[in-house]
Symmetry: C2
Amino acid sequence: MPNSRIALDVMGGDAAPGALLEGALLATKREKDALTPDRILLVGDEAAIDSWFAQNGGNPGFSIQHASQCIEMHESPAKALRAKRDSSIGGCVKAIRAGQAGALVCMGNTGACVGASTLGLGTLEGVRRPGIAITLRMTGHPVTMLDMGANIASKPEHLLQYGVMGSIFMRDMLSVNDARVGLLNIGEEPTKGTDLCKDSHALLAESGLNFVGNVEGPDIFQGAADVIVTDGYTGNITLKLMEGLSGFLMKQVVKELQAQGAESAGDVISALQRNTDYSEYGGALLLGVNGTVVIGHGRSDATAVSNAIDLAARALKAQVNTHIVEGCAAFASDRETKS
Amino acid sequence: MPNSRIALDVMGGDAAPGALLEGALLATKREKDALTPDRILLVGDEAAIDSWFAQNGGNPGFSIQHASQCIEMHESPAKALRAKRDSSIGGCVKAIRAGQAGALVCMGNTGACVGASTLGLGTLEGVRRPGIAITLRMTGHPVTMLDMGANIASKPEHLLQYGVMGSIFMRDMLSVNDARVGLLNIGEEPTKGTDLCKDSHALLAESGLNFVGNVEGPDIFQGAADVIVTDGYTGNITLKLMEGLSGFLMKQVVKELQAQGAESAGDVISALQRNTDYSEYGGALLLGVNGTVVIGHGRSDATAVSNAIDLAARALKAQVNTHIVEGCAAFASDRETKS
């Protein structure tokens, strides 16, 4: 059993360290599943953390692990990880390696978090490549998509495992049993798409997963599948496009409403934004690494941080990683090739 | 000079042949650039066409080229093109080959249209692969993206030519000179993304095009580039995602507005839909084939059909294809490999 403590990178994110520390406090005050302060390990600049608590009612009992450096949002992940050996995200990974924590939560540079976690923690037994899983909740029923950007050079065997990991996540975390798995593609027929699509379709179809075939853009929003698998390049393009387009359209809606003198514009938009912003629900999980890793948006506020901590706590409690190891062993295919 | 007549596939699309024939009529009655009926060749079931005109005021002088078959929206393009030798889309292509038309307009099965056009017309001299170019106008200034799905197995040389063709299209059709060309990717740095991205970035950077580097989802809606190039798989995923997400969000906006008792919901939505629906502006151009090919949405109404016919007429008049041949010759690179 992994340590149940959660290492929080308090230096990452647009509003660090304030929003992170406030989020940690919120996580100890939740109505449901509040964590005791000893469940959260703060990783970052100790002086900055102490100073923040001095001005905000004191540290209620969080342990602090000092890290002297921080990888900024704009930095190249690979370069920064090499140059900054004492970064806060690196400290979180070290805490898991040392058995001081079982999970980490990071709102900082996503690439650096994926890189540090993948290299530092390695993959779970039997898992070939980790994948970033993001759960969209816009439609009223959750849809988990992966990989949203961890693994650019995906192979069919990776996509099969994304289907396995996504299904386990849906069952363990969202009570969706026998999740319907779809393959993001550009047409319905099994022969559509790139070679990766065709080979993945064949592998998924014979896998024993509840595979529902190819899904296209509109299907995502029409409940055609519970888990949608794709390669990390396409997934990341998809993710950023959704962010860009929904942000743009929401602005247009506000403009139109204001132009027409509607008074409720603000309310409408807040309601919609709550429904379209995945960080409301705690961020993304990097599934497949040997540790529980939650990645949030750089712009996360204290509530989002507290949701991310809660997500990490629930993933630990549900033993998602144990089930992933079991699942990937059960779904190991004869057709696997060296990756 | 190609024939200036436009072959219209009147059997393709959800509301065929009515919406197509009504669209042809509208094209002859435009306030600006109205076409005489002899500029439009109707391709499809002659009896159905005659019967429609008998009930709708008579045929004002359109020529009809009979085609006994129609490829339905749901059919597999490759199979259908083999099985239906007398299809209406095939008839349009034949008309261009025979010099009876210089352009075709199709609202039917996109795959069949791309397949029939590419095989039947071939590519323009020097063009390696055709690409579907779609112009988004949501943001107030046009952004042309290609390839949106013609060429799944794209190579760097194809993406370079998409940059060339897109720039020529922007100059000839939309008066945007020296268009800023961006590469759809998952990060800013030249080393980001797939091998195709990296190699395409290098080729575009040294091409002499006005290359502005990688663009990500939000950049599309922030005016970072006038032309955005990508492979046909990613482009098609992107296109369908934009359709699916904007359709879904618009529905949510209506729901929220109605829930809050706003009376102007309908107006707001119509205004937004006009701005987000590319078929309002005439559909997509299949750039690079030896003929002018306009592909519209299956759900196109008569107005969209008439806009598509107008787009074809303007592309012929602007000699886009002649300029593409010149452009691709000028941008031919030493680094080209056999494709």
